[in-house]
């Protein structure tokens, strides 16, 4: 029997060492690419920095950025816009996503093609989606003005991107179009994991289609629903490219969300400290919101 200092990782009492060992590179990498910038940005948000440079000495500690932030009407406006966008886009993504998932979950001819069609917007790069929608809502030769005039909803062409309400609506539509396929794909996966016999049992028990949806489908989807909802909300919360390319935050800051505002402060006005403060607040709100929602998720299944 050798009682040396052999590193026998197969021993039950040592088995977890191997786990830590294997995790180490990933943890280091995450630390490097996520935690470090996070710390830097928190640090900067407490300094009066314009253009952040790591080789410069620290500025004195100050909470001026946060004071300015919370007293700025722009910040509250952006928060309100973000909240509206998150609620509206998530809601419609869910209705559309669940609806299309239920549709393509049925057996019919061309089902595979229909599924492909539903998932298509997901595969389109955001910037290209924006270009398509920007063209559709173009004031002089866009598709939507033509359709709405033909249908008699409006009598003169609407200039979508100069009216605050219309611009906000266009951004919503674009984001919903881009976001619902993800919900649809997740819901479809969830739907397919529900055993047929749940539905059979319910049918024998006399439940009609609506009762089956409410009593079986939705509760069975709850776990997937919760996670998907968080992911979609976070996506809307921090999405930048759609709004930036489409409206740049305008008109009259009607589509200026927190992420647009962060960008503008950082790279438009070069107020890195101030921008970092917005970023930190956004992060805190995101973390709290997702914690709340995971905590709320029913503990079935």
């Amino acid at each position: 029997m050798k009682s040396g200092f052999g590193l026998d990782l197969a021993r039950p009492s040592r088995r977890h060492w191997l786990g830590y060992l294997l995790l180490a590179p990933a943890v280091l990498l995450i630390g490097l690419i996520i935690i470090y910038p996070l710390i830097v940005s928190v640090d900067i948000s407490f300094q009066n920095v314009n253009i952040a440079r790591l080789d410069q000495p620290r500025r004195p500690f100050t909470t001026a950025n946060y004071e300015r932030l919370f007293s700025s009407p722009d910040f509250w406006n952006a928060s309100w816009i973000t909240l509206k966008l998150v609620v509206i886009v998530s809601l419609f993504c869910f209705l559309l996503g669940l609806g299309t998932a239920l549709l393509v979950n049925n057996k019919f001819k061309g089902q595979a093609f229909a599924r492909l069609l539903v998932a298509l917007p997901w595969a389109v790069p955001e910037v290209i989606a924006v270009v398509i929608f920007a063209w559709m809502f173009d004031s002089s030769f866009g598709l939507m003005n033509w359709v709405f005039i033909k249908l008699g909803f409006i009598d003169t062409t609407v200039n979508w991107f100069s009216s605050p309400v219309a611009a906000f609506a266009v951004v919503c539509v674009t984001m919903i179009w881009k976001g619902y396929p993800f919900v649809s794909i997740m819901m479809l996966a969830g739907l397919q994991s529900i055993p047929d016999d749940f539905y059979n049992a319910a049918r024998v028990d006399g439940a009609n289609a609506w009762q089956r949806l409410v009593n079986i489908t939705i509760p069975s989807l709850m776990p997937v629903l919760g996670v998907t909802l968080i992911l979609v909300m976070l996506w809307v919360f921090r999405d930048f490219s759609i709004i930036y390319v489409m409206t740049g935050g305008g008109p009259l800051k009607a589509t200026q969300t927190l992420s647009i505002m962060t960008y503008e402060q950082a790279f438009g006005f070069f107020k890195m400290g101030y921008a970092s403060a917005i970023g930190v607040v956004t992060l805190i709100v995101c973390v709290i919101a997702s914690r709340l929602m995971i905590g709320r998720a029913p503990d079935n299944i």
């Binding site: 055993p195 016999d197 749940f198 059979n200 049992a201 319910a202 049918r203 024998v204 028990d205 006399g206 439940a207 009609n208 009762q211 009593n215 079986i216 509760p219 069975s220 709850m222 029913p298 079935n300 299944i301």
Partner: protein, 371 residues
Amino acid sequence: MAGIHIENVTKSYGQLSVLKNFSLEVSDGEFVVFVGPSGCGKSTMLKILAGLEEASSGTIRIGGRDVTDLAPGDRDIAMVFQNYALYPHLTVRKNMGFGLKMRGTDPTEIDKRVTEAAKILGVDHLLDRRPKALSGGQRQRVALGRAIVREPQAFLMDEPLSNLDAKLRVHTRAEISALHKRLGVTTIYVTHDQIEAMTMADRIVIMKDGAIQQIADPDTMFKKPANLFVAGFIGSPGMNFLRATVNTNGPSPAARIFGYDVPLRIPQSFAGREVILGLRPEHIAAGPGAVTFDVMPRLVESLGSEKYVYVDVPVENRVEAARTGGDERRADTIIARLINPDERVTEGPIKLSFDPARLHLFDATTQASIE
């Protein structure tokens, strides 16, 4: 409570014909078991009865009412599924009351009936748990409870015991039988296990490849199997089969097995015909008897109270495996089941005997029983 009347029901999935002309009359309060190997169409027939599948043709009446084109919920039947299909997000109480709630029954009435059913099944202490916090046996009871609170005209059960371990299965089998006696509700029970069929059924419907082979009570099924398939399916270990040609060397028709001419009680006209003789393992005895033959056992298994003696079959008596309905047993061996054997049966040559009156005769080509 009601009788069930199934008339000429067929079912095909495209080219595949799953049920062929299924007709059955189930009287009020009867316990009928559908039995057959996996894939023979038992579940399909049950689903058609429940209205979960559409029959390709034929009619179904429950309690005199034509339900062929009625939705499952309007047929007034309850079904127990193999994997129980309990809703994971609902408590046992809500699971059991689900059917009543869907029908808009008054909540106090639901509560009363659920409590009552839970008492009958001994799950009243589990009512506020979720299904995942129950054992297999408890889930099974809850599934039964969900069926009985509805007080339907008939119960349909699809292999409700197959997810239980062997011991619990025997126990629950007896409980379902007792429950049926107590409630007296017409029940159709599907299983692939012939022992369940034999112990529980008032009448057995034995199926193969979508066709009914025989409908009879368990005793008749055992004593007078209609064909080779039924004979091989019912009983454990299964019936031994021997191939022989009827000869008239002696005064009456006889078949030569194990080198002996065994007289058969059939008309002279059978001379020259090829037949299959069936002999149940328990009808072979140790020691001399009406027909005695000396054999060298290949293997002797002792189960304590009984011994299984495996004996090689002479080449001319072997039946091709396909004939015996896919029985996985080897066609070149027969089994003798000796009950309370004495110590003589060990290694070495032994004398076995049987009574020729116990022989079952089957036509080698049609496989039907010869009376």
